[in-house]
Symmetry: C2
Amino acid sequence: MSEKMEQYQKVSEEQHKKVQVNPYGPNPSDYLSNVRSFQLIESTLREGEQFANAFFTREKKIEIAKALDDFGVDYIELTSPVASEQSRADCEAICKLGLKAKILTHIRCHMDDARVAVETGVDGVDVVIGTSQFLRQYSHGKDMSYITKSAIEVIEFVKSKGIEIRFSSEDSFRSDIVDLLNIYKTVDKIGVNRVGIADTVGCANPRQVYELVKTLKSVVSCDIECHFHNDTGCAIANSYTALEAGAKLIDVSVLGIGERNGITPLGGLMARMIAADREYVLGKYKLHKLRDLENLVADAVQVNIPFNNPITGFCAFTHKAGIHAKAILANPSTYEILSPADFGLTRYIHFANRLTGWNAIKSRVEQLNLNLTDDQVKEVTQKIKKLGDIRPLNIDDVDSIIKDYHADVSTPKMGATDGPAVDLDETLLDSVKRPRLN
Amino acid sequence: MSEKMEQYQKVSEEQHKKVQVNPYGPNPSDYLSNVRSFQLIESTLREGEQFANAFFTREKKIEIAKALDDFGVDYIELTSPVASEQSRADCEAICKLGLKAKILTHIRCHMDDARVAVETGVDGVDVVIGTSQFLRQYSHGKDMSYITKSAIEVIEFVKSKGIEIRFSSEDSFRSDIVDLLNIYKTVDKIGVNRVGIADTVGCANPRQVYELVKTLKSVVSCDIECHFHNDTGCAIANSYTALEAGAKLIDVSVLGIGERNGITPLGGLMARMIAADREYVLGKYKLHKLRDLENLVADAVQVNIPFNNPITGFCAFTHKAGIHAKAILANPSTYEILSPADFGLTRYIHFANRLTGWNAIKSRVEQLNLNLTDDQVKEVTQKIKKLGDIRPLNIDDVDSIIKDYHADVSTPKMGATDGPAVDLDETLLDSVKRPRLN
């Protein structure tokens, strides 16, 4: 090796070391930070079921639960078994799957609900009650001493059954801080596994979250769980800041689906956390399954992945400006901290102004993680162009056509005479049911 | 008035006062906070033009600039006139519109660019240069003394022309803090109007932002502007936290469009800010124009409004869970801090599991702010059902069909014999060009 090459290598190594000091890593002054040790409570099958467009069959719930478990979430939270006969039966069915993730159900702070919940086979029960003046007045109409009494009764009952119990307030940021700390201190003493803070109306801001979690951390010895709605666009940032302050568990749902515009999205939080601690996140969660998981849930609730979704949005890893493109070629880290490869994705050569050719469509097909031959891509391109003659197409239109075409060519034609004979083994049937997941 | 009624009124007033103490308002310990006095630098026509799918004609740029001005943004930032002949001519055309908003253009820190920029008629020039090790090494290859020297030359030149000048670093959070503070201090002394911090790679977190802005605030006397990318979903929260720390101006774009998955979205930031100071936001910005503005830009770049968009997403003001719906009826504030009426929207009765009838479609047409008669709604419902027989429809499909139908019935049929005679006056021509904006 020449002297010049050796010198070059040495410089490279030094630069590499500098890169290792991650400016987006945990703040060393946060002694109680759980940024490097957080856990996920996945609530697509509870909070997500409250999304306007969500109506899951049992089959779909089981499919989603298995996919979440495979992804590596720590807990899966289910709709209260008291909500309907169907909810109860679905909950029992999911408990019997033998998943690695612990199964939770989410109930009101009431013995009627608790008695049903503990019989379903869940690993834990999440109890919630509104503590803000608004909810006490307009929702359940109870005062703090009644709330405390109910909480103690329910918690002791659930604990006596040997399963986990969480107690959460609702609308925590509009609750009286003294009321809050009093009840959290009480339930901590009688031995809850977790206490929860919930920004039910989605208006908390990060520093407010930091202060409340830090204060609560000084009052209780159990774990702290946080639940953030996204009405003002801060759910991901609030989750991160809560972990910095010492919260341990974050409630998420796939694509953030939930009441109104939802809660902290699983994918967005993964983007946030991988920027802070890549090793922990990659070691724990199967990020390369994120896209399929999002597609599964998006299909089930009939929405498209938002164009600007973190990680999986069509432009998340697309570079356009000349100056950016040049630097990206020299070193991707210049404009890209998140590596698309970590998510099983590729950097994207954005398709041109108008959809001109099958190469552009092929690139999009690959980004959607679908398998089509070149001939099939050419055929679907013709379909796209045909519709494009009728009306202007946007990305969602193109995606819909591609996905429909793909579902079509992946489904064996029953009784068709022009197709090859098909062997209906279990794998194939599976692919029929889940055409967008192969 | 009965004694009971009087007592009731008194209680109501007291409750009202309690409501007035906004838990989501500015933190009183932030002495330098600009949460109540922030300004917007709207960058749809600069950062937004770097969005993968953005290719604006001059006509479209002018339409967007006028709509932004009408909305009430403080500054409109345009692509560098050096980018292309077209960019320069478009910039000059927009400067001649006589808008209330100040017009800025965004250039590299170089005299070649500055000389062109000052001749376009802009009110100010935004200068940017990469200060991180990554950009210095892989993008422009300059050291800090060279950067400082160029900055001084450009700033003094622009100032000599009597127009505003901002100096911003790029990738600020991966830059050496001493380098940063040195150059900011230098440019502040020679009299820049603003200095800018940019999270170019979209990985900063709120408390990190707070610390950097607060430190910078202690070093410079000029205003501070912030630019946040949204790769890890924290752009809105970072913007808010920057204002708390004393930044004055936030860069936004409509729907957040920009490089990769974009920057702080105008609509999302409005949601965040109205939760903190409703009076200031409503007094300054025409929030009821937000939906039309978003539709205009979404059409121009061929994307749909994300289903979970703050404020204007299809479910932002939709309530589903029985317990929520009940409390909302009693008092909307229980689960809703943002009032849909502030944005010219209505609370939404979500359409049912499957699209069953024209009433559901009528409700969606109204949410999209389109005008159709009942007969027209029935006709478009038939179209939707027809396509629904062919393939499963999602919300975006339905929206596309509704919007196309609306554009169709709003466009006068030239030379048609079966339609009414049309008077092609200016207003009508305008509606032809902007079918979705009436």
